[in-house]
Amino acid sequence: MFEALKEGFIRTFIRDNRYKVFVQGFKNTIIITLTAAVIGILIGIVVSLIHALAQSARNKKRKTPGAMVLNVLDKICAAYVALMRGTPLAIQLMIMTFIIMGGFPNKVIVCCIAFGVNSGAYVSEVIRGGIASVDIGQTEAGRSLGLSELATLRLIVLPQAVKNILPALCNEGIAVLKETSICGLISVVDLTRAGDLIRSRTMSPYFTLITVALIYFILVFGLSKAVGRLERRLAQSDRH
């Protein structure tokens, strides 16, 4: 029994320096997750900001050129969010690889962009929900004190919305981490693909797949715990 385990370990990790494939895969998974998260957050901020401004312009019922431009942009953003949420990520990844960025040599960058663009849709919903969770009275108080739309958003609403946004944002990051496991579809060697490569060489699925699962689990579980702690921290500042 022990001998068999030892043999499996050596075959999976030691022989031909196979651990290097895992390290390479792990590195790619982390790079893609972090870059996609940053891209997602940037897109999410822009989309939710456009939505917030377009909505308040609609409430004012003033038909200025600016308001109409905002309205069109908001419609485009809504279509983008619907598309990203309404189609499988695997398909989006392939469309990005073979159509939109067809021929682009660095597939890791393609992954970063595909996952980032997808995540942006979810992030925008998270931010939109966070802003909507702040009592409308806060906005009214800000506006009644002569603060502009943007100043009210920046000084009054967003600081309070962050409390709801941050934990959800971290959860979205965790989701991206798990979603990157489909990178193998376009032959990018991420952690999952690395495990699969080794498995096909050693013909012993146990060590590779369970190792890969364990690494994901440790990352996700650790991050989830950190988010939980963050949530409690933010809830505390309510009471002061």
Binding site: D135, G137, E140, G146, L155, Q160, H240
Partner: protein
Amino acid sequence: MIDIKGLHKDFGDLKVLKNIDLHIDKGERVVIIGPSGSGKSTLLRCMNLLEVPTAGQVIFEGTDLTDPKTDLDTVRCKMGMVFQQFNLFPHKTILQNMTLAPRYHKLMNEAQANETAMRLLDRIGLADKANVYPSTLSGGQKQRVAIVRALAMGPDVMLFDEPTSALDPEMVGEVLELIKELADDGMTMAIVTHEMGFAREVGTRVLFMDEGTIAAQDEPKAFFENPQNPRLKDFLSKVL
């Protein structure tokens, strides 16, 4: 000071305000009463355009607020507003709540803003609360801070939207007392309230709103002692 001409406000199919004409002079204290749903809060909120009228004009100190070219933020600096739900900013200390708008509008530098805020807090006996967060204050204290927060801007008129409706009964007195002090100082006010005794004591004119119109108005003594309008009679018989 405030001139309202032919004001209409619809929410969808619901006509909340129907052709309101109202003139408020400097130094007047207009108290607005009426059954719920009669449009009294909407009328008040139209005065600083928190609610955008469907039709009609709101003219404040010679500026037409309904003109799309009007810079509402500047106008609102001269119109303080106090809300039923206080709407203090929970993520800011009491002092920060009070200095935020004056600093934002560069009406004062930091030292002046702090000095003004402390003088006002001292006046309401809450100077020792300057550096705590709103969540630690009682309802009455919150509302008194909300009132002096509006005063810190040096407004020409104060709009009160049911300032005591969200308070525990034992805290109503302290808030009404503060409003009376402002009245004695000659502040122009429009007050929506359900406190009939207060309306009579502090008002120079009382309006009765019913189904989106001003059904009756008079100076307080005649208004309460000798009501002519049958609906007003009915209303007073229920609330007095």
